[in-house]
């Protein structure tokens, strides 16, 4: 039930983000979700794309440092408290969320969020037990 995210190291200067987008477009890769975490000097760009292999190869060829990370894609009910409920479930089990970001696409009437969690398998089981929909990786890439 895991999904794979690719992470890219970027220096914090104008045009780097646009360059990544251009390289992926050129390689015929679609970006499904994207989040940038940055400091004054550098940033880490996190991406969910439709073709990981192609994206990684294209970025590496252009000299970027790229890695793959396992994440979880979860449906979040599109109503007040939807996200809180999920965070509560994880928090009470003592599971730490490293970061999260929203998916561009909706799944039906629900929003989709990506979570980076250390105890990933434990978290997936726990969420499913609490009737939270965890989306299969293969489905995430083509949403």
């Amino acid at each position: 039930m895991r999904a794979e995210q690719i992470s890219v190291f970027l220096e914090n200067k104008a045009g780097r983000l646009a360059e990544v987008a251009a390289i992926l477009t050129e390689a015929d890769v679609n970006i499904r979700a994207l989040a940038l975490a940055d400091t004054s000097d550098f940033g880490v760009l996190r991406l969910i794309v439709n073709d990981n292999q192609k994206a990684i190869q294209a970025l590496k060829n252009r000299g970027f440092t790229v890695s793959k990370t396992d994440v979880v894609a979860v449906e979040v009910e599109d109503r007040p408290g939807g996200l809180n409920r999920i965070l509560d479930i994880l928090h009470q089990a003592g599971i730490n969320v490293e970061y999260m970001y929203a998916f561009v696409q909706h799944s039906g009437k629900n929003a989709v969020m990506i979570f980076k969690i250390d105890a990933i398998d434990e978290a997936i089981k726990l969420l499913q037990k609490n009737n939270v929909t965890v989306i299969e990786g293969s489905k995430v890439y083509t949403m």
């Binding site: 995210q5 190291f9 970027l10 975490a37 550098f42 000299g63 440092t65 970061y99």
Partner: protein, 433 residues
């Protein structure tokens, strides 16, 4: 393999007798033929006949890079241009270049010493040598080339640059010895990896690396990545070119100086006092067989120490330790002496860090600031910002701990730090003093 058993393993007593005889002849020749030296000797009331022992060399004043520049291009040549068959020039990294000349006999001596050096580094006549040192005014390419031919090995004169083609040649020709600068070697390893070529599938056995300071850690990295034995070679155009000193592959612990041709000394760069064996200071050379361009007590600005202990390889020639920096590379940051090679050692001790770094020195108000740019490779990278920030802190703490200087560490994308085909640009000093 020891190529010249007679000279390379000669008992010290006999060797020193030859050195003295050759020194006296050189002093006579420069006094007679080079106005610069005659004037210097006369100003210091020294006559060639005053040099009776090796100890007497200390009376003679030093020759500096500035002296060579003042006499640019040919003012220091000791033979008429008719007898000069080759001219090389050193890169003018600190301003005007300097020119050096060779007679036919000098070229032959150089080839012999370079052949000795290649043999000490593991090469035999059956080897194929991939020579990636630059051919041209720089002495690296042609120096190694002539030595390889003198040894009887096959040499591929590939020179620097066009890295992808170099990897293809390595695959097709199967060279067994690599001669290159250490920084270019790591670049070769990187490009090979990008091309899906593993050095473990190539035929290399030994590598002979020099022309820039490198560290023991860098040696381990190169040996590991290229699956070879790596030795250090030393030389500079003012003395001859590559092949002034070489590490034997048996010990890999310091470079044997070909003392039957060059006399080394170590001095304190500030006081100019000659230091005893083992102490670190500036390396000074006197050439004792060069015809066209002899130099007397030339200050190389390279920082090292001398080790007179016998070596397991059987050579009796003294060893110089790895050059750890240059007197003119030395940065003084808030009163602390810092050599780029020391920063490199700190970085290389950390498994996650690639050996690509650059030091940027600025002055903010009256305060010097040191920024260390470190490339983020796959081993260092994390998708979590706080892991990267911790790494910046860890590098900074290690630098503070080992060198006693505060540095800001900045992570940068790969290849931001200029990968020169020859020497890597390690320091950018923006201070206007």
């Amino acid at each position: 393999m020891i190529l010249d058993i007679g000279f390379e393993t000669m008992p010290r007593e006999d060797l020193e007798a030859i050195i003295l005889r050759r020194l006296k002849a050189t002093i006579n020749r420069v006094y007679a033929n080079v106005p610069f030296y005659r004037k210097k000797f006369e100003e210091n009331h020294i006559m060639p006949k005053d040099i009776k022992s090796l100890e007497d060399l200390k009376q003679i004043p030093f020759t500096t890079k500035a002296d060579l520049r003042d006499n640019y291009p040919f003012g220091m040549f000791a033979v008429p241009m008719d007898n000069v068959v080759r001219i090389h020039a050193s890169s003018g990294t600190t301003g005007q270049p300097t020119a050096v000349g060779y007679t036919a006999r000098d070229i032959n001596t150089w080839a012999e010493l370079m052949a000795r050096a290649l043999a000490a580094g593991g090469a035999t006549r059956g080897d194929i040598i991939h020579n990636a040192y630059g051919y041209g005014l720089f002495t690296g390419g042609l120096g190694v080339h002539y030595g390889a031919e003198k040894l009887g090995a096959s040499v591929i004169p590939v020179s620097g640059g066009n890295t992808k083609r170099q990897i293809i040649i390595m695959k097709d020709f199967g060279p067994t010895i690599l001669a290159a600068t250490p920084s270019y070697t790591l670049h070769l390893a990187e490009v090979a990896e990008e091309m899906g070529v593993s050095f473990h599938d190539l035929k290399f056995k030994f590598g002979i690396f020099g022309a820039e300071p490198w560290s023991e850690n860098m040696r381990q990295e190169i040996e590991h990545k290229l699956n070879i034995t790596a030795v250090d070679i030393y030389g500079l155009s003012e003395i001859m070119g590559p092949g002034v000193a070489i590490e034997c592959h048996e010990a890999k612990k310091g470079l044997h100086i070909f003392e039957d041709h060059f006399i080394p000394e170590i001095i304190d760069p500030e006081t100019e006092e000659v230091l005893p064996y083992g102490e670190t200071g500036e390396l000074v050379f006197t050439t004792i067989t060069k015809e066209a361009f002899p130099v007397i007590r030339y200050r190389t600005r390279d920082i090292t120490s001398l080790n007179p202990e016998p070596c397991i390889c059987g050579r009796t020639h003294i060893r110089m330790n790895r050059v750890t920096g240059r007197t003119d590379d030395m940065l003084i940051i808030r009163g602390v002496n810092v050599f780029p090679s020391q920063i490199e050692s700190v970085l290389m001790e950390m498994d996650e860090v690639e050996p690509y770094y650059q030091l940027v020195v600025d002055r903010e108000g009256n305060l010097d600031t040191l920024t260390v740019l470190v490339e983020v490779g796959e081993r260092l990278f994390s998708d979590e910002v706080k892991v990267l920030q911790n790494m910046e802190r860890k590098i900074s703490n290690n630098i503070k701990e080992y060198l006693g200087v505060s540095a800001k560490v900045k992570l940068v994308e790969p290849k931001v730090i200029a990968r020169s085909q020859g020497k890597a640009v390690r320091v950018i000093d923006n201070r206007k003093i």
